[in-house]
């Protein structure tokens, strides 16, 4: 058998925040920025999961482009000029996070994830002290039918990390999205109780990649739920090494 041809990946140079950086053309703006110590805030992105550009927190300005582009799913190009931080970007990012707070019932003070929540720390990082749009206060349910885990729709930001990790890493595809727009929710199986799910392996990956208190371990009280996400990168490295 002849050896597989090594795919040619071109090296490109671009500017991020005025700095000249080198990259390969299969990399995203976010990856290259992080390699160069340039911070771009993210919420739905998680190293080890396929990126989908859902939350729009990582939006960046690209010179010549007439719209803002999400750094996590935008590939670098030769000569690109990227701005990752500006007054306009901060305004957009703040508005997005404020809308997430207004959309559901995030009551940090009594949340099991208080102090360990990516939405909460993002609000602090962006200097959000209050929400400018009216809160919706939707009536949402808590599913505690699973023996070890709890799903609280009040805290969900629809990042779909749970859907992605369950489908792409665990391979069970227990989680999915039901409904559209403001009515969208994550569900288990065909919108059945999590405890009755025939596909869930109970691995808990979804719980630990969840950025908020939407998926948690049972029996945790306020501020007690600490997520451990290191497993994901380790698992992906081990799999790549085996291939």
């Amino acid at each position: 058998m002849s050896p597989q041809p090594v795919p040619q990946v071109r090296v490109v140079t671009l500017k991020i925040d005025g700095r000249d950086v080198g990259a390969t053309e299969d990399e995203t703006i976010l990856e290259v920025a992080r390699q160069n110590g340039i911070f771009i805030p993210t919420l739905c992105y998680l190293d080890g999961l396929p990126s989908i550009g859902a939350c729009r927190i990582c939006l960046c300005e690209i010179k010549g482009a007439n719209k803002l582009l999400p750094a996590c799913v935008t590939r670098v190009q030769e000569g690109m000029e990227v701005t990752t931080d500006s007054e306009r970007l901060t305004r957009y990012r703040k508005t997005i996070v404020e809308m997430l707070f207004a959309e559901r019932n995030h009551v940090c003070a009594v949340c099991v994830s208080n102090g360990h929540c990516e939405l909460q720390s993002m609000a602090q990082k962006l200097g959000i002290t209050h929400v400018h749009m009216p809160y919706r206060y939707p009536k949402l349910t808590v599913d505690a039918t699973h023996a070890r885990f709890v799903q609280d729709d009040n805290r969900c930001v629809l990042c779909t990390r749970c859907v992605r990790v369950c489908d792409e890493v665990e391979g069970a595809h227990t989680w999915d999205i039901m409904g559209r727009g403001i009515d969208a929710r994550v569900i288990t199986d065909l919108n059945q109780a999590w405890g009755d799910s025939s596909s869930c392996t109970g691995c808990g990956k979804c719980v630990h990649v969840c950025p908020t208190g939407a998926l948690t371990e049972k029996g945790r009280s306020t501020a007690e739920m600490v997520k451990k996400q290191q497993f994901l990168q380790y698992l992906m490295q081990m799999r790549e090494a085996k291939q």
């Binding site: 707070f101 003070a109 809160y135």
Partner: protein
């Protein structure tokens, strides 16, 4: 020059923010020497006074009484400061907001009551349809997140204000802190 007039007010909150103020311990004396405390749960006065320089407000706006008071506080204060998550976000009091006030009252005073099942209607203010953050009702000048903001954060905020600066609290406190 006369000392700045400081008032505090307690709307729909648990008083934890006021407890945090007291937690400043001996630093209270330092603050007290720089201001004139003219109103608050610790001051025996019923009516929110005129010409207040700094008003610290704890709690969400949840009842007709709260609504009346916050408007008066705004009218009579130069600086209105929201102290803690209930004033900022409506926080725990807002957890009733997905239901109508009648449903909430029936749940608390009838369904879950074992004795004297009755909804209080006299001598207590009527609940608004929703518990709301203060800034949805009146203009707010400064926001101090936290549940409650720590004594250190409140001390920092007050001393900065008394020094004529706007306190930068972003690295010191957050929602739920």
């Amino acid at each position: 020059m006369s000392k700045p007039r400081l008032a505090t007010a307690w709307l729909d909150g648990c008083s934890g923010c006021h407890m945090s103020l007291l937690d400043m311990d001996e630093r209270l004396i330092e603050i007290a020497q720089q201001v004139e405390v003219v109103c608050g749960p610790y001051v025996d006065i019923k009516e929110f006074p005129e010409n207040v320089d700094i008003a610290l407000v704890e709690g969400a706006v949840s009842s007709e009484e709260d609504l009346h008071r916050i408007k008066k506080i705004r009218e009579r204060s130069k600086l209105l400061i929201c102290m803690g998550d209930c004033a900022l976000t409506a926080n725990v009091p807002s957890m009733r907001n997905a239901w109508e006030p009648d449903e909430v009252l029936a749940r608390a005073y009838i369904e879950n009551a074992t004795m004297q099942q009755q909804i209080p209607r006299t001598s207590v203010p009527r609940l608004l349809n929703r518990a709301r953050p203060v800034h949805e009702i009146v203009r707010v000048d400064i926001f101090i997140p936290g549940c409650p903001p720590s004594a250190d954060v409140l001390y920092f905020a007050l001393t900065e204000l008394l020094a004529g600066r706007v306190p930068d609290l972003s690295s010191r406190t957050r929602f739920g802190a």
